[in-house]
């Protein structure tokens, strides 16, 4: 059209179109925040993997997520070290613990991670400074997440008990929170004393492997996998294991279905409000559209006008919703709420939001039926 009717009408009658823009904006905001929360919360189930370095994870065959690990044979470490591509092998121990700090703090279930304390260790390398690792070297010392300290009822220097054994809080870091519960770090030596059955079982559920050269990953992985089939362990790249962990929480626990259901509801509400608003706008201009049809402007061109309006409403709503989501997520980060937005998720939300408005536009096109030019002649 040589006259931008769609745009001019939108600007002229912005009050009429505002509800649709707001509906789309809220849909976009909710979808984005929801995506960020899902990725943040479920992504945190892979915090053990994401916070660590290393190329390969080795564990009990069939393990889906770190929390579900099982002890693997002690000789696993030997099989790993025998491979020429392997540079470093680190044991990683993980147990559940019963926490008691003060009489007024009830029992808390927490997860203790036992890690190597050498300064260049792989596990939790992104969270632990070498200085913090030195503090862990002292037997019986643990490190907590600063966001959990209030809940745990401790300050640095306190001596709470885990599984009935006294430990000492020697430091606090950030970035250990997960969906499942509170995480605490200790050395491998300390954790073996915290085993519910007492020290004795030296087996660990995981080993983390660093290769000399990351380019050797595919070959090394298939060699180690073959060894694992023989000796009772499985090998995953860190990416695979991280994905497996978040997929487990998202897909296998039913939580993902809830999130999906919410997304459908949000999209539906947005689409209904937007299409109703657009339909009202079309019906409000029905006689003008009818006059244009009488003059020979086809329904196709008029449909184009309605769809263009839908596209503008979608874009404006997306922009508004994006700004709102950015503000909401900034607030969430400020309060340590785990939120993560990845570009693919943003793109998916944008496509969904624009899809909502275009589907609304298609629904509103039906209102053009009321623009029959014969009705103008009475």
């Amino acid at each position: 059209m040589i006259v931008p009717l769609a745009r001019k009408s939108l600007l002229h009658e912005w009050r009429r179109f505002l509800p649709a823009v707001v509906a789309v904006a809220f849909s976009g905001l909710l979808l984005l925040v929801q995506a960020a929360l899902v990725l943040g919360i479920f992504g945190s189930s892979a915090v053990y993997i994401d916070a660590s370095r290393g190329d390969l994870w080795v564990g009990h065959p069939g393990t889906r997520t770190v929390e579900l690990g099982r002890a693997i044979p002690r000789d696993t470490e030997i099989w790993l070290r025998l491979d020429p591509a392997v540079d470093r092998v680190e044991a990683y121990s993980w147990i559940e613990g019963d926490w008691r700090s003060r009489p007024d703090v009830g029992a808390i279930t927490l997860y203790v991670s036992g890690v190597d304390t050498s300064p260049d260790a792989l596990l939790f390398a992104r969270v632990l400074t070498p200085d913090m690792r030195v503090r862990l070297d002292e037997p019986g010392s643990v490190i907590v997440d600063e966001a959990d300290m209030k809940k745990l009822g401790v300050a640095i220097g306190d001596r709470p008990r885990i599984n009935g054994r006294t430990v000492r809080v020697v430091g606090a870091v950030s970035g250990l929170r997960t969906l499942g519960g509170v995480n605490i770090l200790s050395s491998l030596e300390t954790i073996s004393r915290l085993q519910p059955g007492g020290p004795g079982d030296e087996r660990v559920p995981y080993y983390v492997v660093r290769l000399h050269d990351a380019a050797q990953l595919p070959e090394a992985r298939s060699r180690l996998a073959a060894a694992g089939r023989e000796h009772g362990f499985e090998v995953w790249t860190r990416k695979e294991f991280a994905k497996s962990a978040s997929d487990y929480w998202l897909l296998d626990t039913g939580a993902g279905l809830g999130v999906l259901f919410l997304a459908v509801v949000v999209s539906l509400v947005g689409a209904v409000i937007t299409s109703q608003t657009l339909m009202g706008a079309v019906a409000g201009s029905a006689t003008e559209y009818a006059a244009l049809q009488a003059l020979g402007i086809g329904v196709r061109a008029l449909r184009g006008v309605v769809l263009e309006q839908a596209a503008w409403i979608g874009s404006a709503g997306l922009l508004l919703g994006g700004v709102g989501a950015w503000a909401a997520l900034s607030l969430a980060r400020h309060y340590h709420v785990p939120v993560v937005l990845e570009s693919w998720a943003v793109a998916a939300c944008a496509v969904l939001v624009l899809g909502i408005s275009m589907i609304s536009g298609l629904a509103a096109v039906r209102a053009l039926r009321s623009a029959d030019p014969a009705t103008l002649l009475r």
Binding site: K8, A291, G296, L377
Partner: protein, 245 residues
């Protein structure tokens, strides 16, 4: 595509309706509106269909202009059998050959006068510059060139109807249909619109078919067809005696 300007002499009919029949069903009752009506409309003159309300004037206009299919009968417009065309072809015919002026002005609140007039020209594949030129020309013809930048809310009823006329005539149609174009206007503006329609028939050689029961229009029409109860009762040429220009 502009028809050669014809002087006062009416040419051969450009629009013929033959045995037009149309009835509307409401509940179980069939109400006949057109009862086998035939007529010819000639270019270069303002033909008026008058008659009491409900006599079928507007239905006749809708059938002749290709907006509403009659139950029986045929319309031949510029050599084409309108009701034998498919929907797309009919739309194209309306685009290229017909203009409409309605009782309501049906202008978009968001657009200025010149944009209202340009709107249908886009469908004729005119460039923006060409369309703008032609729209300004049409607005000049209806005496609104000074108000081309105004929106409907800033114009009087008469001005709005003149914009609607400019919108119809910018396409340079050979057939111009007007349905009660003066009924929403005061005396002065009504007179202005009638004069305009009359002048357009003369200067553009278009066949202007107007439905109205406004006595002022009757006085200015070249030809008056009186309709009652779905039939044409009378065909007169009052203007011939007055020699109105």
């Amino acid at each position: 595509m502009t028809a050669p300007p014809m002087a006062i002499d009416p040419g051969a009919p450009v629009l013929r309706g033959r045995n037009l029949v149309k009835s509307f069903r409401s509940g179980r009752i069939d109400t006949p509106v057109l009862r086998g009506l035939s007529l010819d409309v000639c270019p270069g003159e303002l033909t008026l269909i008058s008659g009491p309300s409900g006599c079928g004037k507007s239905t006749l206009l809708a059938s002749l202009s290709g907006l509403q299919r009659p139950d029986a009968g045929e319309v031949e417009a510029l050599g084409a059998l309108l009701w034998s065309l498919d929907a797309r072809a009919l739309e194209r015919f309306r685009l290229h050959h017909t203009g409409f002026v309605f009782q309501g002005f049906n202008l978009f609140g968001a657009l200025s006068a010149v944009e209202q007039v340009m709107l249908p020209l886009g469908a004729l594949k005119l460039s923006r510059t060409q369309a703008r030129e032609r729209a300004l020309e049409a607005l000049d013809e209806v005496g609104l060139s000074a108000r081309s930048g105004l929106r409907p809310a800033e114009m009087s009823g008469g001005e709005k109807q003149r914009v609607a006329i400019a919108r119809a005539l910018a396409k340079r149609p050979q057939l111009l249909f007007a349905d009660e174009p003066t009924s929403a206007l005061d005396a002065v503006n009504g007179q202005l619109v009638i004069d305009l329609l009359h002048r357009l028939a003369r200067s553009h050689g278009a066949a202007v078919l107007c439905v109205s029961h406004d006595p002022r229009v009757v006085a200015h029409a070249d030809r008056v067809l009186h309709m009652e109860d779905g039939r044409l009762l009378d065909d007169t040429r009052p203007g011939a005696a007055e020699g109105h220009t």
